[in-house]
Structure formats: C-alpha cells, structure tokens
Symmetry: C2
DNA sequence: TTGACATGCAGCTAATTGGCTGCATAATAA
DNA sequence: TTATTATGCAGCCAATTAGCTGCATGTCAA
C-alpha cells in the first residue's frame, strides 16, 4: 500500500495531476488532459494509478468522471515514514556531518 | 532533482536501505547486502541511485565505502511539496467528503 | 609477495512502464 | 433518432529498470 503511493508519486506527470487537482477539485479527464501534451488514454492510465494508490477518488456525474484529490494517504506517508528522517533522529544529521569531515577534505 | 528523489524512493529495496542506514550510519556495502536476498552488485546499483539523488553520502575508508544517510533532501520534499497537501489546503479534505456524499450513496 | 577481501564496471535478460492507436460503450444535444 | 462527446478497454512498441554474471582493480593481512 505504501509502496503503491511511492510508485504513484514517482512520475512527474502524476505529480502534476495532483497539483492540478489541488488547485481545483472535481475536474474531468478531458479537463485534466489539457496542457499535458499527451493523449487522453495516457492521462487516464496515470489517473488510474493515482486512484489505485488511493490518492485520487472519483465520482461519476452523467458521462463525466469527476476527480478529487485525497490528501490523507500523503499525510499518512509524511507522518509515518518521512518524519522519522527529520524528527526524532535529527541528531543523525550532525553525526553525518562529523563523519564526513572526519579526515578527508579533498 | 525532486524527480530523482521521488524515483529513488519508489523502490522498496531502496527504502529498506534508507531504514537500515537510519538505524546505523556508516555501513559498508557488504554489510548492507546482508538480509536483502540480492547480489552485491544489485545492492550497489540501488545505493548508486540513492547517492545520485543526494539521499546517501559516502566516505572511503581504505577499501571500504561507508554509507551515510542524508536526511536533508527528504525534509525538503516534506516541507516544500507534501505539506501543501496536509497544511493550508486541509479544507480540501472536507470539500472532497462533501462532494462524494453529495448525491450517490450506492 | 601473495592470497583474500571490498568494490567497480560492463553487459545480458526479463519484467515493467509510459506513451501510442483503434475500437466499443454510454450519455448528452440537436 | 442521430451525431457528438466522455470515457473505457485491448493491444502495440520503445525505453527503462532490476536483477543477474563475469571480470578488473585496489587494499589489507599473512
């Protein structure tokens, strides 16, 4: 599950899609295609990956599929994984700096 | 640059390597190979990716290459990108909930 | 000096990925 | 009803990736 999220975030087009949805929720596929320089079907695949990772939720309205950003998984990742690297173990940064400066300054 | 970091984090083996280094800095390649069920050369490639993304820094000590986690890029990512999804736009979560509950409860 | 050890480098292969085209289906508009 | 529009689905292809093997290089210990 965490793996799906990281893999989904690994593609710049998919991050751009999340940014677009952050600006305005509920956009359709054809709206989201605009400006990406890519065919509709390719964008649809990217959106499917985002949906599979739980980052985007959808709602059908007639023949249009509205896309909504779901920020909760990203908040989870940030809290449960990334924070370990900046939070309680911040001392590691100092250890690193010390270790690197120890004896080679080339 | 941000792209390199996201791509580096997309692989579970690489995230495991970061976790290992978070537990103990300065491990050698052969130490890190242990427990991954993978050849040394493969692990070396993963470490090269992490180093290329700035997530790992290295120091040579004789014939051994010591690996150190660099938490700064992850903190950058968390601050400059991920926080937008939980912070100022937290209202979007409510908008999403409202939109999804609007008219379909199947 | 010689043998063992730590690593690097080049190249192979199978699987995955990210784009594409073509066609099908469902909903709206005329 | 018929044409248009929004989307889905299947399949193709080139590029990337993640593992591997084999060999070369440099360092340490006996």
């Amino acid at each position: 599950m965490m793996d799906a999220i990281f893999k989904a975030l690994a593609d710049p087009t998919r991050r751009a899609l999340l940014d677009r949805l952050l600006e305005r929720q509920g956009q359709t596929l054809t709206e989201l295609v605009d400006g990406l320089g890519m065919r509709r079907q390719s964008v649809a695949k990217h959106l499917a990956v985002l949906e599979g990772a739980g980052l985007v939720s959808c709602r059908w309205q007639g023949r249009e599929k509205l896309h909504y950003l779901n920020p909760l998984p990203i908040a989870e990742i940030s809290r449960r994984w990334l924070d370990r690297y900046s939070g309680e173990r911040a001392a590691a940064i100092l250890n690193l700096r010390d270790a690197l400066q120890e004896n080679d300054n080339e």
